[in-house]
């Protein structure tokens, strides 16, 4: 079969389109960084998902954690006693930080979690910042080639800043829009 097995829409058509930045009340998603399954359950009241997300993150931590040739290099980045020796399965060993938390994001529909979730291991660096691996997914998916194990910071709270001006984009658009 060369077509999608199913194609459903979550929100389109079900609600009038609101062009505001902050209308994530009834739907949208829930994201959190948790240091334990218990902390996750306390926040989400969803024990099954928290356990699954933790297990999946722990599994990914062994393959997606940053890799260092020796313990000292790893500890310089992640702190004393925060690193462990791992094996890549091919007989090569390396050092990587221990998973210190996990990230969970779920879709919410009318306040309850929809099926499916996204999780990732989180690591705390020696400055106290949280990170998680960047894009996962090896070859064979919709993207050709893997994407390495770059780390991206997790920012728990959105960054707010004073806007000094608006309207500096969009003047080239005709009435028919900009796509083609």
């Amino acid at each position: 079969m060369k077509r999608s097995r199913t194609a459903a829409l979550l929100l389109m058509g079900s609600a009038p389109l609101l062009l505001t930045a902050c209308n994530s009340d009834s739907e949208a998603s829930r994201q959190g960084l948790y240091t334990s399954v218990e902390a996750c359950v306390a926040a989400t009241n969803d024990s099954a998902t928290c356990k699954q997300a933790f297990a999946k993150a722990q599994q990914e931590a062994t393959t997606e954690a940053p890799r260092f040739a020796n313990r000292a290099e790893c500890e310089a980045n992640y702190g004393a006693d925060k690193c462990t020796e791992r094996n890549d399965g091919g007989g090569h060993s390396f050092f990587g930080p221990m998973m210190t938390g996990f990230f969970l994001s779920q879709m919410l529909r009318n306040g309850t979690a929809a099926s499916g979730f996204n999780s990732a291991p989180a690591f705390r660096d020696s400055n106290g910042g949280w990170q998680r691996p960047a894009a996962g997914g090896g070859a064979g998916g919709v993207y050709r080639g893997g994407t390495g194990t770059a780390m991206v910071p997790i920012s728990a709270t959105p960054d707010r800043a004073v806007t000094v001006s608006r309207g500096g984009f969009g003047e080239s658009a005709g009435s028919r829009g900009a796509g083609g």
């Binding site: 829409l9 991206v152 900009a178």
Partner: protein, 392 residues
Amino acid sequence: MRRVACAERADWRAKAAACGFGFHTIDDAPYWDETAYYAFSLREIERDIEAPTEELHAMALDMVGRVVGSERDMERLAIPEGFRDWIAASWRERAPHLYGRMDFAYDGTGPAKLYELNYDTPTSLFEAAFFQWQWLEDQLAAGALPAGADQFNSIQESLVEAFGTIARSIARPFRLAAVRGSTEDQGTVAYLRDCALQAGIDCEQLAIEDIGITADGRYTDLDDQVIGCLFKLYPLEDLFREPFGRHLPRSGLQLIEPAWKAILSNKGILPLLWEAHAGHPNLLPATFDDGGELPRGWVRKPLHSREGANIAMRLPDGRELATGGPYGGPCIRQACQPLGAFDGRYPLIGSWVVGDRACGMGLREDATPITKDSACFVPHVIVEEARGVLIA
């Protein structure tokens, strides 16, 4: 490849309304047209559309790698100097991309010929990925199509998979923006947001005109949150030259499509591809335009033009066709490959690439050989060819 007349679903307008497809009729002219469909064999789809799309996509990405290392090529593509290093860096970092559409001339008789890449702001996505899919399911259920009919269209599945794959490299907060006044663009972005949400990515939509700037050159949404990643259904080259554009390279803003797509959404990619792969069966001869008189059998297109605007065509018999529009600047020339006619209509194949996968197709047909924004979207099916049996 055949064009087959068929009865519309009686309730398709209600179905369009129910799923938020607000632009099926544009300025009182029909855009979604299900009074006919195009039928392809599986072999035509796999050999003539899917495989060439994957191959050309790989060739195009290789070309990006070459162009970012060449001042001369950047110059030929008229990429503004102040943005070149930033574009090159976005390629080195492999800033994630989401989707693109190749337009092909194809009539079932020879190789599909690439007209252009729409790799920055492709539209006609919702109607190809979702509404066309729903049409097929409905018509199969109603017995209006041959049993077992299929469609080259796993676009939505691929979009959700792509968002899921790049979810962790999308900086938050994630915002999607399009021009406020365009129902079509807003609909396309609403659909992409839906796909992102299905992949578990929290995101909101805003008008491109509402984006704000801070004193230190970062971009904000209406809630004054600094935007982490912006999906913009708005041409990169327009962002570059507008008042807020100069902040882009140092703003820290992640863009989807990323900055390196400026090389592929530029029609200058066509002569570059021809120079590197002259004679490729899916490419048309192309050169950079020197401004001279257009010879017979050639088409002139601006480096940046959309929806078939500002195209000049000199047919092999000397007749000239041209479309108006707002675009100017440097042009390319491409060998004229007229679209095939089916029942007096000229279908253009839009072949979708999500991530790096060729995953679907949408056809737009116009009453003239130049496909403009007046073209109608017509659904397609894949049917097995009758073998020695005539099915009336």
